[in-house]
């Protein structure tokens, strides 16, 4: 039993990353009907931005210029990185997606893919192939609860992720901007006629998604403090699949599917050899999509490729 709960804890943490990234995919897909294939690499960029911000604060603290406690550095890092990464997302939208808004959607997917490659290579060119070590901001403490070992970082990661998801949900439900986003998801043609700027909403959607991806990147860096330029590929594509599994544009769906994917992967890895993880995870997803082609919370729709 303790073994089971141990894995539940691990899966919650692992799923948080997927869920946060999947939200970005899902929002862009829901609002603009686009696959943002660069999102995985935005996650990676966000993690690196987090790394630089954290290192800067730690350095300032150590040199005595601006002495801050670690918990404050963590909060500042997350907030500042989210803010900065949202601009990366908006830039990606501006460069790769906006010029192609009336082009075939597939072409926009290609530009997204290319921007992703540029981000990866750019990172590699700037920082070299050496992996970066994320500074340790929280001194890890392990609590033993009935045989289940829980670290304070795990609790923090899960809580922060859920907090961000709730915040996003509230934003989309309660604010004027959120309403505009939902309206746009509902009707791409008429809403702009109602005085809502497509460009603004598109930028907002990308910005929000990227900010969440950045948070995921920092949390990932805290849990597994090694960053490399290709970390976004694996995570990104898996989170993409999770977003689809959740249903088109559904925030709750994307979050749940992200956690589900985390659970599948962790449990597969404990029962089977870990090399089978991807195989079984994707097979399960394939089976689910075969029987629920619109995902958990998606509504049936018919998308025509605008070619």
């Amino acid at each position: 039993m303790a073994f089971f709960f141990q894995n539940v804890v691990n899966a919650l943490q692992w799923g948080s990353f997927y869920a946060l990234i999947a939200l970005g995919y899902s929002m862009v897909y829901g609002v603009l009907m686009l696959f943002n294939f660069a999102h995985g690499d935005i996650f990676m960029t966000g993690a690196y931005i987090g790394f630089f911000v954290a290192t800067l604060f730690v350095g300032l603290s150590a040199s005595g210029i601006l002495v801050l406690p670690n918990w404050l550095i963590l909060i500042l890092t997350i907030l500042l990185s989210m803010f900065l990464t949202s601009f990366v997302g908006m830039a990606v939208e501006r460069i790769a997606y906006r010029p192609l808004r009336n082009a075939p959607r597939a072409s926009a997917a290609i530009t997204g893919l290319m921007v992703g490659i540029i981000l990866e290579t750019g990172n590699l060119a700037l920082l070299g192939a050496r992996r970066q070590k994320f500074p340790e901001l929280i001194v890890s403490q392990t609590y033993d609860i009935g045989g289940v070992s829980v670290t304070n970082t795990k609790i923090m990661i899960v809580l922060v992720s859920i907090g961000l998801m709730v915040a996003l949900h509230q934003f989309v439900r309660r604010t004027k901007w959120g309403m505009a986003m939902r309206a746009m998801a509902y009707d791409f043609v008429v809403v702009p006629l109602m005085g809502v700027s497509i460009n603004l909403i598109a930028a907002l959607t990308f910005g929000l998604g990227s900010a969440l991806a950045s948070a995921a990147g920092i949390l990932f860096g805290i849990a597994y403090p090694v960053l490399d330029p290709y970390m976004g590929i694996l995570f990104g594509w898996k989170a993409f699949v999770a977003a689809i599994l959740g249903g088109r544009g559904s925030i709750l769906g994307a979050a749940l599917a992200g956690f589900l994917l985390g659970f599948i992967e962790i449990f597969v890895a404990t029962i089977f050899p870990s090399t089978l993880r991807d195989l079984i995870a994707y097979s399960i997803i394939l089976v689910i999509l075969t029987f629920r082609p619109h995902g958990f919370f998606g509504e049936p729709y018919s998308a025509q490729l605008r070619l």
Binding site: P99, M114, A125, W237, P273, D278, S283, L305
Partner: protein, 438 residues
Amino acid sequence: MTVVSETIEKRRSFWSIVRDWWLQYFSEVPLLAWLVGALVAAILEMLVGNPFARLIGMPRGPVLFGFLIVLKTPVLIPPAILYNIVIYALPVLLVARLIGGLSNKLAAWLFQRSVMLSTIAHLTLMYVALHVWAGFNDYRVLVVKLILLAIMVTLSLNVVNGYMGEFSCSHPGFMALGAYTASILSILFFVDDSTFGPALLPPAIGQFAFPIILIISGAVSSIGALLVAVPSFRTRGDYLAIISLAFTFIVKSLIENMEIVGGPRGLRGQPDWATLPVVFVWTMICVWVINNYVRSTFGKTMNAVRDGEMAANAMTINTRRTKMVTFLFAAFWAGVAGGLLAHVLRYVNPGSFGIQKLAEVLAMVYFGGLNSVVGSIVGAVGFNLLSEALRPLELYKWIIIPIMIILIMIYRPTGLIAFTEFDVKKLIQPRNKKDREA
């Protein structure tokens, strides 16, 4: 104001001079003459290429028109240009112009005999020229083989993504299936191997069994495609994109977990059967069959599926059948290309059939142009040449190529040469009026 208009006029007049010159001397030169010209240039290069290169200050004849050295040692740009002019451009132009009239008569004669005969004659000539040219340098042979395979893959993906307008991500998976099927079959039957045991059949007949092996590889890919097609074509929408993506990951992961084929380390020891002529013939068959398909009324139902499935259904078209047939057909060619690739490299590993491959294939399709055979050929050749040319930039290559593709997507969202029909007859017929009418 006047100055501006003058310069524009001057520029226009320059280009119009070039165009007029071209039209005057070369508009009536048929393809046949160009191919003979290319052959002559290739032979010339074989005979005097290296000495001439040394004479003008290059260590040896450039491998790919000097693309490779240009970025490494810019000093060599003038000699490279000179080399290209003297060895390639001048002989081709001269020969083409000289034999233009004669070759028109020959082309007309061939064309009258039968289109098939004429096409085969042209292809033979093209192959000979290519063979001589590639024979100049081993590296060229490899590049040419890889480009030919890229044409197959690009074209077969264009059938699904361009002609049918679905977004498929499963081509790396199909290639992997084909590559591994072909490798296992040829190693199992024709090679003494430690895992698969001694050869079951005499290795001498292997070369002749190779086409059968490739067809089986294609068929295995098609069976894989069935797994993707059945769930994804039930509903319209983006499901093909997701399911095919998952399929690619599953295939890759499956192979990584199969110890008998070497797992992530890969499989080596494929016999050296994928020679240049073999690859060339398969590529030409692929282009021919796909072009036949997309130009038939049967194949054009793909376009109807893309441009309006409901209307297609109301016009007696069985769209489900179209989607199935097309998808399996495309997968078949991806499988054949994969099988050939395994034998060209004589090594195959699952890592090379992942996202990277997908990005590359998609880039070639959208770079060249959707719904266009010529576009796919241009896309595959252009992308590969570009990729070879930028190789000296190492890492930065993967910044420049994506930027170029983004620019192409922005200014030509459906690719460079999109929505064209490829008519072989127009290509091989004589160019002057008299012979064409004859």
